[in-house]
Symmetry: C2
Subunit: 426 residues, 2 copies
């Protein structure tokens, strides 16, 4: 895999303390090296943007520049353009959430909203509550503000609200700065919080007086089953993060936050300090794109493609994966979460998988504390079904090789050490 | 001017400590209210984007989407597209700075670079050094990381390096996290750091081993005199911040940072946490825009327009402003800095100016500590020359009214109190 170039850093004693907590993605270099043309990637969370008709984007861009060129090129308001916020009002209405334009601030994707919400709430040492595993980008954003991250386990019904209740009891009234959850087709676990648990989570949050942050990038990418009302539809104090990345395109870097007005005012100050305002150019384009109804058909096409790929991945897992593996079956979104026996270290196996032409993200990337190394996230969003099957077959071979070794050890009465007992982290 | 709506904030005890230091722009509400059609604004720093031919932008957007549509809509690398970084390499070369594409990270305007550079360097209580006055957006970005801000006064030759030397001596070796400077046509002061002082500043920074951040949004908007080599051309450890906002359009939110590789690596981590990556959509457009040579003519047209407006403003100041006023004469950029006698409080006068149909930014916005209330920043970038004359005439009337009052007091032997002695800050 080659070695990362080490650069002597004469400023190493000058950086802020928070930077010690901002984790480099250890697998990033690996993937950068993994540019073989036959590489099958399950590591990314990239939408299948090739199915977005480029003509509809060109038409949106051209007419927006023709009609609103001066606005498109100029600084805009920090809240975002009223017109694009009206688009969001419509989108939110369709999923059962009533908001007004002035309940919203447009952000540079949902990632910026994660950064800013952490910035306005977290002091070093503050406790925050997440699902375990949780979105890697959220951990990156939060870690810069030095919180103590408590992870609540999930099952097939999403976050275990019984365990959340225990944790909140332990932490006490206002014992955490916020609860962060991805209720729909969770990244990375693929599970969805049931309507009953949504209610329970909100009741607990109210009881302990803790703000809830609902991150909902995948909510509209549902393959089967009925729509679950967002937490924000059930409680208007919920801070809701949305994004255009999965219903239009991530390349525009447009997302939004809906929050109670006082929180939104703080958020807006943080936004101004971070980048003054969002891109008017991207906003006028999105306005036009959603003014035409073709986006609905495109979103349907995309969702069907993802459903087909989910099916391909689940079928391949059943066909090829060893009996020791367990995985989730997501009803939407991008990701399947695989759990292997605790002694298997999927981080150390990754290099071998890359050799064989397949990538995934080892599970520890989704925990703040090194847990999850016997797990992996498989993204089915980007590869074609035939490639998915091939990739899962390759990956199964890697796992089988390793399992055989362990089975031989076990048969000889020598139990292998569980991963994480020695420190191999780079 | 009406009253700001006060919203009860039940989360007021929940925000991070840093948010107490992120200042709301007190004049922001005032300007929001100032939407009279005949209002003449000297408060903004908005480029004259109406002179950018929209056809050249439409052509760039269309051909970029046609040729690189999939890339334009997808997530990109956190460093920014290699192609747009090559454009920056070319632009930097033209101002005398040799960089390679991998010395650069593309940012969401220079404002994001300010935020991220503060994030990677500043721990609460750390000292940083700026010019006084300095860019309001930089103070906003830095303040979120709770630094101790030391301001070095300027004269017509830019930052007083003799006073910088004194301050550094007091602070000692590595006594500050960085020195932040805007050497060309400083915002808000309008002055330019002379070549001799550039050398002195760099020597001092080397002697005390303190990184220098050079913010250069206006460098190419020079009206007269020769080009001054950027600090980064004289010392390749300087962290240089550039932006497309003034040479193309702020609506795309594209800027860049050039820095030594170890610092750039930290910066990149902070960038990933902040927004994953920049907008590919904006980047492909900028690439195409700069691939055509028409941008040079457009930039010339813009610079000529700004020069004409600078002339109009200086002429009007000479014609209408009271003898007590002093102002800088910038050789480029967007801003004139006016200093009035110390007893005149230009913050309290602003509401009256708005009544008369003219706006400016009171000087205290550009200091971290309430200083500068007898000063104001006048932006000549956005209004037409005839409007500039009219606006300065209106403003002079407001000042004259107030000065007459003070002159009467003084004649009666009653000296008015200097501003800042009572706390009127909202």
């Amino acid at each position: 895999m080659g070695t990362a170039r080490v650069v002597f850093d004469r400023w190493s004693d000058r950086y802020s303390k928070r930077m010690a907590d901002v984790r480099s993605s250890a697998v990033r270099d690996l993937f950068a090296a993994a540019t073989r043309p036959d590489m099958i990637s399950f590591s990314g969370g990239m939408p299948e943007i090739r199915r977005v008709p480029i003509d509809s984007v060109i038409a949106a861009a051209t007419s927006a520049l023709r009609d609103s060129g001066t606005e498109a090129l100029q600084y805009g308001s920090s809240e975002g353009r009223p017109q694009v916020r009206e688009v969001v009002v419509g989108l939110m209405g369709e999923i059962g959430v009533r908001v007004k334009a002035d309940d919203l601030v447009i952000t540079a994707g949902a990632q910026q909203a994660l950064d800013l919400v952490a910035k306005i709430f977290i002091d070093p040492g503050d406790t925050i509550i997440c699902e375990g595993p949780t979105y890697l980008g959220a951990l990156q954003a939060f870690s810069a503000y030095q919180p103590n991250v408590v992870c609540i386990p999930m099952d097939d019904d999403g976050m275990r609200t019984d365990l959340l209740a225990e944790e909140l009891k332990r932490l006490g009234q206002r014992g955490a700065k916020f609860i962060y959850t991805i209720p729909n087709f969770q990244n990375p676990a693929g599970v969805t919080l049931t309507p009953t648990r949504r209610r329970e989570l909100l009741d607990l949050a109210r009881e302990y007086d803790i703000p809830v942050i609902e991150d909902d990038p995948y909510g509209r990418l549902r393959f089967e089953g009925g729509h679950c009302l967002p937490l924000r539809a059930l409680d208007d104090e919920v801070i809701y993060l949305g994004t255009f990345s999965k219903i239009f395109a991530p390349g525009l870097r447009l997302g939004w936050v809906a929050a109670p007005k006082p929180i939104l005012a703080k958020f807006l100050l943080a936004k101004q300090a971070a980048d003054l305002c969002g891109s008017s150019y991207a906003q006028v384009t999105a306005e036009r794109y959603f003014a035409d109804t073709r986006w609905r058909k495109t979103l349907q096409t995309l969702t069907s493609a993802y459903a087909e790929r989910r099916d391909a991945m689940i079928a391949a897992l059943e066909e090829f994966f060893p009996a020791e593996a367990h995985w989730t079956v997501p009803a939407g979104g991008f990701f399947v979460w695989v759990e292997m026996p605790s002694f298997l270290d999927l981080k150390s196996i990754l290099a071998e998988a890359v050799e064989r032409g397949v990538t995934y993200v080892p599970g520890d990337a989704f925990f703040p504390d090194g847990r999850g190394r016997n797990c992996m996230r498989l993204g089915f969003c980007y590869a074609e079904p035939a490639k998915i099957r091939e990739g899962i077959e390759r990956l199964a071979e890697v796992l089988e090789d390793r399992l055989e070794l362990y089975r031989a050890f076990a048969a000889a009465g020598v139990l292998p050490a569980a991963p994480g007992t020695t420190d191999e982290r780079g």
